[in-house]
């Protein structure tokens, strides 16, 4: 099966399963992003027609929410907290280190496609600030050294 055909099958499965739920659009977008890592621009027309919405409505929802993305992320996504509690424990310095180490800014992916860096406004780990999340793993009291070590551990 070609990549496009496989993507179409995934979209079809997800929308068929979820479209009759009340307020189905967010659950559908979540499942698509879970399956593919992002919500391809090409899928908007299909989602819109399945839910009897306009393309503008679907695009409007995707673009409203910070979490949804329309381009493929890096192999690992790093969510670095920027909120007050982490700032009180030196997250600005950590942020500078992380950006410098990866050579990218927020919302960017390293040229080798390994890492995407996203800001997050609170992970609820304020009792061990500064905090970050790499893929599904959470880290507290992060320092420049422990950040570098985490990168090594996930094979950077």
């Amino acid at each position: 099966m070609t990549e496009t055909a496989s993507m179409q099958t995934t979209l079809q499965d997800i929308t068929t399963r979820l479209k009759d739920k009340p307020g189905a659009l967010l659950p559908i977008l979540h499942e698509i992003q879970n399956a593919l890592g992002y919500i391809p621009k090409d899928s908007i027309t299909f989602i819109a027609s399945e839910l009897n919405l306009s393309r503008a409505e679907v695009h409007g929802v995707i673009s409203f929410y910070h979490y949804f993305r329309e381009s493929a992320p890096g192999h690992h996504t790093i969510h670095l907290c920027r909120a007050e509690s982490c700032q009180a424990m030196g997250s600005k310095k950590l942020e500078a280190h992380v950006k410098n180490r990866l050579g990218i800014d927020f919302h960017e992916t390293t040229p080798d496609g390994k890492f995407s860096l996203e800001p997050v406004y609170c992970l609820g780990l304020c009792s061990c600030s500064p905090a970050m999340q790499i893929d599904s793993e959470v880290f507290g009291r992060v320092s420049a050294e422990t950040f570098d070590r985490s990168l090594v551990e996930i094979g950077a």
Binding site: Y67, A88, M89, Y121, L123, L125, C126, S127, V138
Partner: protein
């Protein structure tokens, strides 16, 4: 018989390495041929001691912590499974002063039980509230909640019983219960701790709410940043269905209540109840005009209760022990307990559930032990990113909704973020405007445009440009946000901005308080 060992699966503990410690303890026990029963409990909320390892002994649970990977074999060598001394020995968990001084009602089971064990929940007084609720009328359930004096713990502090009563009296073919689990405020994590550490209490609270007002469908709107809470809730919901605590004919009654978790997608504004409902309906999270109130016309235009996690998780104990029991805690019009979260630059960060009335100073120093850095505490932000910054001179304010309102501050969701004297309050004020600009839903002009203009004005102020012109301009802008915004995001961003300016004029390049006016 196997010895029971507890290591938390709370994300705060996981972030400090609890998963690795749990694996190491299992491995070490296996290698030594010792039979242990490892339970992954919620967190006790003493985060400077996480990863905390507890051992069940004849007396009670004995705690060791914070345990690192290299400590594990030494713990076994010294006989920690019998509660023997070790450099990390802390004594009985429940005798630790930080824990012992608390009054845990809503958090009674968190850290004590296996979060997703229904048997454990039942063995620790779980579902007693629901049993009581099933024997009385909806109006009587609402009366208990009203009598308890419970006010919305999300931050707005609206009396929960009055909200429920409005939905009870609304005529409709369908009503909804929504749990607002979009806990986006920095410095807060009590919702997360409950959902990860005792998900059944939230499920029970929502079921009671549904039975009380005649709502048959509930949604937990959970922020996507909480994957561990999501997993715990889904597991607990499935078990509740299997055992007849959810679905049709709950516990053999004629009551029905269905419950589903829905994920948010990283929008702070969706913690605002009308924006949350738009999001649940599958739309952009744009704030709605009020009225109509959600209690009259809410989700899909139907009468809807929207309550915070802690509000709903406080309902089971109210229905179990009665509204008066709960009301006997607290002060003034702030009844019951508040789970306070100590965060930021603080030596002993964690969760402190206590009756209202304790002062900030007691929380910061008696519980929190002062700053983590050892430097003087300069400011604390109470109530999340829309809460005011308080200087040392206000630390004697008791935790009470009205006492905070009197000094133009908010208790909010009970999060306290501590800053030491290295913080630049003008930078924090700028961040508040930036946060508002990033998270604004864009529906109303003061918030959408005012936040960006606020950032620009603060940039000028930070650079020392024309303070005599820019300080009044900032105040004027804040006035517009405060009075012209549709919801609390734009309407309360002036709290941190103006409190920073009023209490810390030096950081804004002003020589004294008078210049700040």
């Amino acid at each position: 018989m196997a010895i029971t060992v507890y290591i938390s699966c709370d994300s705060g503990a996981l972030a400090l390495g609890a998963e690795r410690i749990a694996q190491a303890v299992s491995r070490e026990a296996h290698q030594r041929g010792i039979d242990i029963r490892l339970i992954r409990n919620g967190s006790r909320g003493l985060f400077w001691l996480e990863p905390l390892v507890e051992v069940q002994t004849d007396q009670s649970r004995i705690a060791y912590g914070p345990v690192q990977g290299h400590d594990v074999s030494g713990l076994f060598d010294s006989g920690f499974l019998n509660g023997s001394p070790h450099p990390l020995f802390l004594g009985l968990t429940e005798e630790l002063p930080f824990f012992k001084k608390q009054q845990r009602l809503t958090f009674a089971r968190v850290g004590l039980t296996d979060p997703v064990s229904l048997e454990d929940y039942l063995a620790h007084d779980g579902y007693r509230g629901l049993h009581n609720a099933l024997t009385i009328s909806g109006a009587d359930i609402v009366r208990q909640v009203t009598d308890s004096g419970l006010r919305g713990r999300g931050g707005a502090a609206f009396p929960t019983g009055i909200k429920w009563n409005t939905v009870l009296n609304a005529e409709a073919d369908q009503k909804y219960i929504i749990c607002n689990a979009d806990e986006g405020d920095s410095g807060t994590f009590s919702d997360r701790m409950v959902m990860e550490g005792d998900p059944f209490v939230l499920i029970e609270g929502m079921t009671i709410a549904g039975i009380a007002v005649g709502a048959t469908q509930g949604y937990i709107y959970l922020r996507v940043e909480y994957p561990h809470a999501h997993k715990a809730l889904d597991t607990a919901i499935a078990k509740a269905y299997a055992a007849g605590y959810l679905g049709q004919n709950i516990l053999g009654s004629d009551k029905t209540f269905d419950l589903e978790v829905r994920l948010g997608a990283g929008a702070y504004v969706c913690g605002e109840e009308t924006s949350l409902m738009e999001s649940l309906e599958g739309k952009r999270g744009l704030v709605r005009f009020k009225p109509p109130l959600p209690a009259i016309s809410g989700l899909f235009g139907k009468p809807t209760i929207v309550n915070n996690v802690i509000s709903l998780a406080s309902v089971p104990i109210i229905l179990d022990k009665g509204g008066e029991y709960y009301r006997d805690f607290g002060m003034g019009r702030s009844r019951g307990t508040l789970p306070v979260q100590l965060a930021g630059n603080i030596k002993y960060p964690g969760l402190v559930e206590l009756a209202f009335g304790l002062t900030l100073r007691e929380l910061l120093y008696d519980f929190g032990g002062g700053s983590a850095s050892g430097r003087p505490i300069k400011a604390v932000q109470v109530g999340g990113p829309l809460g005011a910054y308080l200087p040392e001179s206000q630390f004697d304010t008791p935790l009470d909704y009205e006492a905070f309102a009197a000094i133009w501050a908010v208790v909010g969701h009970g999060g306290i973020v501590v800053f030491d004297d290295t913080v630049d309050m003008a930078e924090m004020a700028r961040y508040s405007m930036e946060f508002c600009a990033i998270e604004s839903c864009g529906k109303c002009t003061p918030c959408r445009i005012g936040s960006t203009r606020g950032m620009e004005v603060l940039d000028d102020i930070i650079k020392g440009r024309e303070l005599n012109k820019n300080i009044p301009l900032l105040r004027d802008l804040c006035d517009t946000l405060l009075n012209g915004s549709l919801c609390a995001l734009g309407g309360m961003t002036p709290y941190p901005v103006l409190s920073a300016l009023n209490h810390f004029p030096l950081d804004f390049g002003l020589t004294d308080q008078a210049d700040a006016a």
